[in-house]
């Protein structure tokens, strides 16, 4: 009950600053449109690249707007700015509520709002661009796709929490954050779908966790993956979640001692 109430309160605060989440959605829209238009220029010369046609790649970039707004979380920025720099972590630690879940509850309403706004904008753009969404879904593929989306959410959130925690040792995260943003942009499938990446980059993308946050959820929900492939994706996601979960717990424990040592 209290989690519902907490979620509701944070959701209301999102409405109070309606401009900000909309600006973030606009960023996803502009990035997606730039890459889409460039790729459409490439498709003018060759009508099919691997399994992608002009129509399917167009629908991919529009789903990217929704996926980016919903699944790509950014708790590290307010954690660093508010909890570490301003010292609000002390207040959070005193609450009878896990820090991980506190931050999750703050982040979730923003994602829901951005996801809904992104979906509305993507739908309008899809009509303008005559995007042809083809969802090849069955009950099994829908259920598995939803599990993939659910796991993607937690992989992203846990990874970003780990990134934020590094600030307890390095005192600033901008360098690590910029490196992460670049890796995510390349390997999550923002520039091109992962299987259109050249050679070694594609292999790397399938090893790193980023494609399992954005690319695989998109093609899963489109029904582009068969059931066995969906299970493979889920297996890799669970492995990543376990690794990141263990790493988070380890860093959190060590980090709290670091934090206490300096008497912040």
């Amino acid at each position: 009950m209290r989690y519902t109430k907490i979620f509701s309160l944070y959701f209301q605060s999102v409405f109070a600053h309606r401009g900000r989440p909309l600006v973030f959605v606009l960023m996803y829209v502009i990035n997606a449109l730039i890459y889409l238009t460039f790729i459409r220029g490439v498709f003018q010369q060759t009508h099919t690249i691997q399994t992608w046609t002009l129509s399917s790649v167009t629908s991919y970039y529009f789903l990217l707007i929704v996926a980016g707004g919903t699944l790509m979380m950014h708790p590290e920025v307010p954690i660093f700015r508010d909890d570490f720099e301003k010292g609000e972590l002390a207040g959070r630690l005193l609450k009878p509520f896990s820090y991980y879940w506190q931050r999750f509850n703050i982040e979730l309403p923003v994602r829901v709002f951005q996801g809904i706004s992104g979906a509305i904008i993507a739908y309008i753009l899809a009509i303008i661009f005559h995007a042809d969404f083809q969802f090849h879904l069955s009950l099994a593929t829908v259920c598995l796709a939803l599990i993939i989306i659910f796991l993607a959410y937690f992989i992203c959130f846990t990874f970003k929490m780990i990134l934020a925690l590094t600030a307890l040792w390095t005192t600033e995260i901008h360098g690590a954050q910029e490196l992460t943003d670049i890796l995510v942009t390349i390997f999550a499938g923002y520039i091109v779908p992962v299987n259109l990446l050249p050679g070694v980059l594609e292999k790397l993308a399938n090893i790193l966790p980023f494609s399992y946050i954005i690319y695989y959820p998109i093609i899963a929900i489109e029904g582009k993956l068969a059931v066995p492939s969906l299970f493979s994706v889920i297996t890799i996601q669970v492995m990543w979640l376990v690794v990141l979960g263990v790493l988070f717990r380890f860093l959190w424990k060590k980090g709290l001692m670091q934090y206490a040592d300096f008497g912040h």
Binding site: S8, F11, Q12, F15, A16, R18
Partner: protein, 327 residues
């Protein structure tokens, strides 16, 4: 007159949200705004060299008035003239003659020594080298900060930082100085130092100083004239001693006796606030205070007697709580 304010009004538009989730959803599409009157039709004049206290509770309109006088805010209506200029036009010739110091806000570069920020201000205000060196020497000596000018601002204590902020604000010898809660957050020693400095600066340079503060000590020690503002309206504009005379209906007489005295005899003289056999405290009306004091001295073995005006804070509180009629 260096400052003339006529019918100054300033409204802000404030968003009003209904409570709860449905209120949040409604506010997403349609927002209700109302006009908050920060300053409501006020008028006053200030002469050169005056040191004025501008007091009022939080949200009274003090800072808004100050910001209209300095040109930071555009008035909703009314006329403001400072040194013959319209502040909002922010002409450079006007800005070179004024300065605003806000407590807790800083203009110094955080990572660099204060002297670097002074050098930048020197270029901005086009201060000649000789004048700059003389002013820095004078001000840093007055404020006793000669040895910290080369220290990074972020390494200074709040009091030291405040002093450096003052120097930065006074480097161009402004004719009018606006001080918005300059002693906020400072310890009692630092507050006293700052008050001394402001008093001396006013005397030495004949600068007009307008001061807002929540600390009555600042007002009592520095200002002969006060303007009391509440809910955007001026409640009182006049001498500080006059408000005491006007609103302080009673005085407090404290008598300390050489030998114990009887309560029955003492309480005939006036209203007793407290009593013990060797000390009595009376609250008497202003016109009766001399009579009661002389009776005490005549009929009782008084060792020491003290007649006090009520605390200025209590008087101001009375003005705010509308028990007094507005002037």
């Amino acid at each position: 007159m260096v400052i003339q304010v006529k019918n100054l009004t300033k409204y802000y538009q404030v968003h009003q949200k209904e409570p709860g989730f449905s209120g949040s959803l409604k506010s997403l599409f349609r927002r209700k705004y109302y006009d908050a009157k920060a300053v409501d039709d006020i008028s006053f004049e200030i002469e050169e060299g005056e040191l004025i206290g501008f007091i009022g509770p939080n949200g009274a309109g003090k800072t808004t008035t100050l910001k209209c006088l300095t040109g930071l805010l555009y008035p909703t209506s009314g006329k403001v003239s400072v040194l013959g200029y319209t502040p909002f036009e922010r002409k450079h010739a006007y800005l070179k003659q004024i300065s605003l110091v806000m407590g807790q806000k800083n203009q110094l570069w955080w990572d660099l020594p204060a002297i670097d920020s002074f050098l930048l201000n020197k270029e901005i205000y086009e201060i000649p080298d000789e004048h700059y060196n003389k002013t820095i020497a004078e001000l840093s000596s007055l404020l006793e900060v000669e040895d910290i000018l080369q220290v990074q601002v972020r390494k200074l204590s709040l009091g030291q930082r405040m002093k450096c902020e003052l120097i930065a604000a006074l480097i161009h010898n402004p004719r009018i100085l606006f001080l918005d809660e300059p002693t906020i957050g400072l310890d009692v020693m630092m507050q006293q130092n700052l008050r001394e400095f402001v008093k001396n600066y006013n005397k030495q340079y004949n600068a007009t100083i307008i001061l807002t503060s929540h600390y009555m000590k600042d007002v009592e020690e520095l200002c002969k004239r006060i303007i009391i503002i509440d809910h955007g309206k001026i409640l009182y504009d006049g001498k500080l001693e006059s408000i005491v005379k006007k609103y302080a209906k009673t005085k407090t007489i404290t008598a300390i006796f050489e030998k114990p005295v009887l309560l029955e005899k003492v309480k005939q003289l006036g209203e007793l606030v407290s009593f013990d056999p060797k000390k009595a405290v009376f609250s008497v009306t202003r016109d009766q205070s001399n009579r009661v004091a002389s009776k005490l001295l005549e009929h009782f073995p008084v060792e020491d007697i003290n007649i006090e005006e009520p605390n200025i804070e209590e008087i101001i509180r009375e003005v705010f709580s509308n028990k007094a009629s507005s002037v």
